[in-house]
Structures are given as C-alpha cells and as structure tokens.
Amino acid sequence: MKAHLLYRGADFDVLADLSGHSDDLIQDLELTTVLRAMAAGDKFLYQISARVILTSLTEPGAIRYRQQVLADCIAQPDIIRQMYSLAVAALEDKRRVWGYWPSQRPTSILSGAVSQLEVLVSRLHDLRQVADDHLAKFSSDGLVTLLRSLQQDLDDEYFDTLSAHLKQLRFRNGELLSMQLGQDNSGVNYVLRSGSSRRRWKERIGLESRSVYSFSIASRDDAGAQVLEDMASRGINLVANAAAQSADHLSSYYTMLRSELAFYVGCLNLHDQLSARGQPVAFPDPYPASPAVFACEDLRDTSLALRRENVIGNEVDANGKPLVIVTGANSGGKSTFLRSIGLSRLMMQAGMFVTARSLRASTCPQVFTHFIREEDPAMISGRLDEELSRMSGIASEITPHSMILFNESFAATNELEGSEIGRQVVNALLEADISVFFVTHQFDFADSFRRLQPDTTLFLRAPRQADGKRTYKLTVADPLPTSYGQDIYYRIGGWLGEGRDPAASG
C-alpha cells in the first residue's frame, strides 16, 4: 500500500542523501525560519519539510502534480490534518503500549508485538472511514488515488482475517529453570543448572542440614514477575520474531503515510501564518530549465515575512539576463532580496506556493549559495582560502542551468583582487549556462560588467535616501562608486569625540 502524494507513482525516500550543499542553503537562506513555521512545533514536520524542500523537483509536470495536491489540501485543510493525525495517533498508540526490541527477552517481544498489532489495526478502521466519507471532495490525482486505494486494500474481509490472527497469537508460558548466583551482594556469574543431582549434594555434605529459604512474588507484582522472566524461558523466539516483524510492517505503513502527509500539513501551517500576516501567496509558474526565465512581482523573502511587519517585495524582470548584480547601500535589503530569490526557487521546486503576487521561473537542477561566512571555527583556513575552497566545492557539483547566489563573495582581500577573482569565476559560470545573482559592494567588479556585458546583465541597486535612511525596495540602476561607512560612523557618534563631520555627510 502506497500514498504517492509527493511523486506520481513513486515513493518518497526519507533516507536519501541530501546534496552536500544543503547545510549551506539552510544557513544562507534562513530556511530554518520557514521550516519552523511549517513545523509549528512538530519536529517531524520540520524534518520532512526540510527534506522535501532540499530535494528539488526539476520537471514542471512533477511540480504541478504537487501544486494540485496542495491546492486540494488548502481547500480541505481539516480532512488532511485529520488523516495526518490518524497516522500520528496510530504511532502514538503503538508507543504507549509495551514495546519490544531485538535484544529483549522473547516472551516480552511476543507480548509487546501482539499489543502493538492490536492498536495499529484498530486505526486502520478509522482510515478507511475517512476515505469513505470524503473521497468525493478531492480532485487532485494524488489524493484521489490514495483514498481509492484505502477503500480497496482495507475491505471488510481483510479486517476479519486480521482479528483472527490477533487472537491466535496469545501464548501461554510455563517454563521453569534454576540458576546459580555468584558472589557479591547482588547476583553475578549466572549459570544455568540442570537441577537433577540433589542426592549427591546431600551425600557430600553429610551431617550438615540443608537450609533452603524461599519467597514468592505477589501475583500483582509485575516488576517482580519481569525480573523472574529475565531468568526464565527463551524458547519462543520464532513466533515472537514473526509477530514483531508484522508489527514493524504495519507501523512502517503509518510512518510512510505520515511522512507523505507531513509535507502538506507543513505547507498548511505556513499558509496559515502567511495568511494571518496578510502576505501575498501564489502558486508559481514553473518553466523548463532552458531557456532561462525569471520574472516576479512583489516577491518577498518568506523567512523575513514570517518575522517582520511591513516587508517590501521586489519586481524583477530578468528574462534574457543570466547575470543579476545587486549593489548599493549597506542595510539596503540586498541580502534579503538574494534570500527571496533562493527561497522562492526552492519552494517552487518543492511544489509549494511562494510569497509573491506572481513568479515565473525556469526550474534549475540545483540552487547554490556562496555567502560571506564567519571565520572557520575549525581554523583550517584563512577567510579567502575558505571562500575559494567553498567555491571549488560548488564547481565540482554545479551543472548547466543551475542557479548560484553570491553574497559579498571574494571580499576577504582588497577590492582589486577580489573583483578580479569574482570576474573570472562569474564569466566561467555564465559560459557554462549557469544563472548568477551577485550581491557586491565591489564597485570595480560590478562596473566592469556594466562596461563589457551591459545587454546580458541586470543591475539592481539598494537605494539610499537623502537623509541617510535606507529603503528596502531595489531599483534597476547601475552601480555607484560610493560607500557609507563614514556616514554610519558619524551617525552613531564615533568614538573619538569629534562629533558629526559635516564634510563627510555632504
């Protein structure tokens, strides 16, 4: 039995390896904020959502398959949440009853397995009921197929068979054995004894009378019985093993169902939060990888939209522009813009909605980020070395039509050298059909593309208002040879007690 809500006709592999670049994406794109909103406190939702988002779809058709399921979910959120709760509840029920594990005593494995089978089977009835009640309300291929299969595979006859087996698996245990305890005040050095030679002992000891002290465990003393069971029979391995494996199969079905639904529940949680904050939400329009398409209206950084009021969106039309260079004021929203580009692309390729009025974009095999980083805590590298090493790692993985986002890269050296490295890297990437977004303060770097490749480069600028306050909406504008460090120094009052320098603010 399968769910196939994430891939048409295929399983969701929750254990597949993620790209080596995933950690960078999480960190650089502030993915954690989005994932927390999706999780709404549920660690499992967090993990599954992370995995789905970091395993991008690249076929527009596959993306639309999920978009349709998600649209169904948004239209009927209560039913989806109910199904998810059923799967969670079944697994919870299982956890509440006495468990079993391979190194346990066989008697415990058996009784644990039977108890678990009982609770797991009972939730199957509820699941069938959901399918019976609500199938007609859905239209997406994914959900319709799932509910139909529940009706077919869990028919009444099958339920009869299950309950017969559960009765048969009761087991009576009457084995006895004797043990010897070694020295020390609690027992050690246990050895199983045959208990058949009492006479020999009496003969050898002769005159000394044999002292035997005894006690009995109360019939309601479960812990005591458990201790004795530790010393008792282990003769029922095979039945216990089969029952345990069946319980494992059944709980893995619920785990699968829970995983497939988890992503959509996460999307519902995110949708709720964004709606409550009045953020625009739209299903993006996915295009094939080539030719490169990118246009958006009111595109916002989803992560920021979850944390701030008054988030400003950007309009960008970069069709025919494989290189987008963003320059301008510090604190001007450049990094936020870059994150909105990366996040929206990942969300689109996960089949999700994005925070925008509209978004049209090519799918790309992979998204890469190359952001300025804190000094390597492992101290292996200096800063530029670390940046170049990360760039080299990306170059080993990146393929044509991928997208890469640079944030203040190659700035760990002086401006002329940093610009030169940047130019060489970017030109090689562009010639390999990779689209590049580059946030930089290095005027020399940005300006050289204005001079040499004006037709294929889009220049955006974070503007600065006359009073020195920043806005966060980018405009199409060429780079400027200015810097703002002096402004900030004087605005915060410096540290030399010289006050505001009129010459610097003019």
Binding site: N185, S211, Y213, N237, R383, Q424, E431, G485, L496
Partner: protein, 499 residues
C-alpha cells in the same frame, strides 16, 4: 573573591577559540564546572598566580603527575561508589558497595603517600598537603579502616549460593555443585547444527542496581551466611563517613591542575615549549618566544601535524601590532595567540612559549567577523561599528584590544577610514592592541605601531609558512595564486565546468 573577575565574555572567548581550550581541558571531568570557572576567571593578584604556578611546576614531574592522576582516578571511583549508595534501597547491597568504596579509598591514600615521599616537592601547596597526609596515615583510625576492609572482603569472596525459580516462587540455598545446564542443552542439540544461523540469543544482563527481588535474595543469602554479614554490617556502621574532608578538598582542587597538564602533555611530548610568564605589573613591554595558538596546536598535534611557532615583542614606546600580509598566512592565528596567552597567564597555568613577559590587563576586547544576522536589520557594518564603539568607549589604558579583518564587507576607502579611526583611539588610550588588516597603510600610522606580516614560501606564492614576522607591510597579496590553488580561476573553471 577579591582580585578576580570573570572573563567569560562569550564573544571574546569564542573569537580567540579560548572556549575550545576550556572545553578541551574541562571535558566531561567531574569538576568540569570548577575547572571552567578557574580557566575563565581572571586573577589580577600576582601572589595567587605565583602560588598556582608553583604547584604546576611540581606536577610537571612525570612520576608525580602520574601518581596524582592515579590518586584522582581512585578517589573518583570512591565518589561514584558512594553516590550509588543513595540510589540503593537494599541494605545488603549498600553494605557491599560501601565496603568496596572504603577499600579503594585506603589504597588511594597509601599509594599517594608513598609517591609523595619519594619526590622532591617545592610548592607551598603540595608540601603542606604531604605533611597533612603523613599524619593522617599514622592515625589508628585509618589503620583500622584499612585492615577491617581487607578482612570483610576476603570473607565475602568465599561465598557461593544458589537460586531456584519456580513460577513466582524463589528458593535460595548454599551452592551444591549442580552441573551447567546450558552446556548440557548445547551438547544435546549440537548434532542438528547445519551452519551459521541468525543469533536470537539474549545476553544475560546484570540489571543496574538491585531489584526488590534481588534484594530479597540477598537477604536470604545473608541468613545463610550470618557470621560474614553481621561483621559487614558492623564495619559499615563503624566507618560511616570515612572520607577525610581535607583530602577530599585537595582531590577536588587537584583536578584543575591535572586537567590542564593532561591537555598540554601531548604538546610537550611533541617538543612544544610551555613557560611561566613574568607578569611584571605595569610593564607593557610584552614578549613571547616560541609561542603558538594553543587550541590550534592541540588539534594539529592530535592529527600528527606540525605546529608553527611565532615570536612577538613590544619595546617602549611600542603598543600596537598591525598584522598584514597574504591571506591564510596565519594572521588570525597570531592574533588569537596573543589573546590566549594573556588570558591563560591570568589563571596561573603555564602558557605556550619558551619564555614570556605578559601584561596584567583589566579587560580584553576582541572583534572578529561575525555572521550576518537576519534580526539585525541595521546591517552588518553598522553592527560592527556599534560593537567597536562600545568596546572602545569601555576600554581603559590597561585594556587589550584584538581586532581581526573587521571592515571587509565594505569598500577599501571605508576600511581605511575606519581603521584609522580605530587606531587613533587605541593610540590615544595607550593600550595594547593587535590589529589584523588587509589595509597595509595602517601599519605605519605612528611610532607606537609595529608592523608584522604573514609570510610565504619564496617561489611558491600559494604556499604559506604560517610565520608572522616583524617586518614592514609590503602590500603583497596573493589572492589569485590562491584561487589557482583551488582551481577557481577562469581557465581552470572553464576546464572543470566544460562539457
């Protein structure tokens, strides 16, 4: 305590990787909190530092160190045993554990006393303890503790008993040499064996602690062996609270010394030098020879890699070292070394280097690049400047400032402007400062500023020596050579990304 202040400023500690040192020294030691506190405390009283340095010097003798480690380990076992007692509900079990704890304690004390007698000890701390220990061992109380423990132990070791389980009924009797039944079973079925099978066998486990069933069994064993158990009960009553207070306190404080010495031992074995710095109060003529970044060195040594050593010195009126030069050349490491040495010196611990004179500072300020924080919408540069402003306004002429590549996310013009502003304040305050920068003009802003640069292997610009030496800034940077080394220049990328 007077003269102490906690230097656990998290940012500064992490900038210097001092947190790695503290973590590696304190590890999962029982006295982890005390060790951490002592390493993070800044002692400004030279007498206290000197007292600790003496103890360290004594313990640097290998055989004394080993004896101390052995003693500490045995005392730890004693504590673990005694801690267990509180969790035990069975009196018989408690008595067994108590006896074991006492026996270990006796052994620990006697072994340590023997080791201390055979050593030359010069520190005030250890000498006083040795004298105390001699008196303690000679006491009749200690003698009885030891002798009785040995007797009780041998009594109990001679006992073997037998348990029979029938449903919910348990019988306990003296052992009567019944044959091993599992061996009989194995022998019976051995003939059916075809080959390897999956193992469903459950290992016999001794459950942690004693269950109420186990306790009942133990009670019955005690009834079978009345004489031995009565003597045991009497022992436990007589010697309750056997551990001496002074010895326990000594053992606790010893942990700090042992933990640090244990941490630096592999480094000493690799030929690196440690010394006790001269802390001539008031002199800013600091220097260190053959020194190194302790956190980095510990890591390199554990990987079998060589450690690069460096020197620095400042002579009147010099106060500021501007470090420039090629990237990945050891500049950051050099800056950390300077900070670590000063922090360590204030704990009484030996510091990396063959000789050193260091300054007893009041506050240390560090500023290394931080990751961009989404919450900080005022922007990275403004955040940097606000932190620097706060530090420089709080600094006094007794402070130390260590800054590393702070303005890299802005333009060269800004970096130069702001670097000059920082150094102007540093010079005005006359404080000790390490300033790591790419802007090499900053190395020549005044007579109190000294230039040091990272260096390369002549003829191979991508290779670094990790040596930082005192010489004028030469404006060389080797970024493109480095890019070539990583295969990310244009021609190399064309090859790598090509079809």
């Amino acid at each position: 305590m007077a003269g102490l202040s906690d230097q656990r400023d998290p940012a500064a500690v992490s900038d210097l990787n001092f947190d790695q040192i503290v973590e590696a020294v304190a590890r999962d030691h029982e006295q982890r909190d005390m060790i951490t506190a002592l390493l993070c405390q800044q002692v400004r009283d030279p007498a206290t530092i000197c007292y600790r340095q003496e103890v360290f010097r004594d313990l640097q003798d290998l055989s004394l160190f080993q004896a101390a480690v052995e003693f500490a380990e045995q005392m730890r076992q004693v504590r673990v045993h005694l801690d267990q007692l509180r969790k035990m509900s069975s009196g018989r079990q408690r008595e067994g554990w108590f006896l074991d704890a006492a026996a270990i304690y006796c052994d620990a004390i006697r072994s340590l006393a023997v080791s201390l007698e055979g050593q030359t000890i010069t520190s005030r701390g250890l000498t006083a303890f040795r004298d105390y220990l001699a008196g303690y061992i000679a006491s009749s109380e200690f003698d009885r503790l030891c002798k009785d423990a040995a007797d009780r132990k041998s009594d109990l070791a001679a006992i073997t008993y037998q348990v029979r389980i029938k449903g919910l009924r348990v019988e306990v009797s003296r052992h009567d040499d019944e044959p091993d039944y599992s061996a009989e079973i194995q022998k019976t079925f051995e003939r059916f064996r075809q080959g390897a099978v999956q193992d469903y066998q459950v290992q016999y486990r001794i459950w942690p602690g004693m269950t109420h069933v186990g306790a009942q069994i133990a009670e019955l064993v005690a009834r079978l062996y009345t004489e031995e158990f009565t003597a045991l009960t009497a022992y436990c009553r007589e010697h309750a609270g056997f551990a001496d207070m002074v010895i326990r306190r000594f053992d606790r404080e010893l942990q700090f010394y042992l933990a640090y010495l244990d941490y630096i031992r592999p480094l000493l074995a690799a030929g690196l030098a440690f010394c006790y710095p001269d802390l001539a109060a008031g002199s800013k003529d600091v220097f260190a020879r053959d020194t190194f970044d302790l956190a980095l060195a510990a890591k390199l040594i554990s990987q079998g890699k060589p450690v690069v050593i460096n020197q620095f010195h400042l002579a009147e009126p010099e106060r500021v070292i501007v470090v420039s030069g090629p990237n990945q050349g050891g500049k950051t490491t050099f800056a950390r070394t300077f900070g670590q040495l000063h922090r360590l010196a204030c704990t009484g611990c030996p510091v990396p280097g063959s000789a050193a004179r260091l300054y007893v500072y009041d506050q240390m300020f560090t500023h290394f690049e931080r990751e961009e924080d989404l919450d900080d919408l005022t922007g990275k540069l403004e955040g940097d400047l606000l932190r620097i402003q706060k530090a420089l306004l709080a600094a006094t002429s007794d402070s130390i400032v260590i800054m590393n590549e702070i303005f890299t996310s802005t333009t060269v013009a800004d970096a130069r402007f702001l670097g000059e502003k920082v150094l102007a304040k540093v010079i005005e305050l006359d404080l000790l400062c390490i300033y790591v920068t790419f802007i090499d003009e900053l190395a020549s802003v005044g007579p109190t500023v000294v230039s040091m640069t990272s260096t390369i292997v002549p003829g191979n610009p991508a290779e670094r020596t990790y040596k930082v030496v005192r010489k004028p800034a030469d404006g060389l940077a080797y970024a493109l050579a480095l890019a070539g080394k990583h295969g990310v220049t244009y021609p190399r990328l064309k090859e790598r990304l090509g079809p």
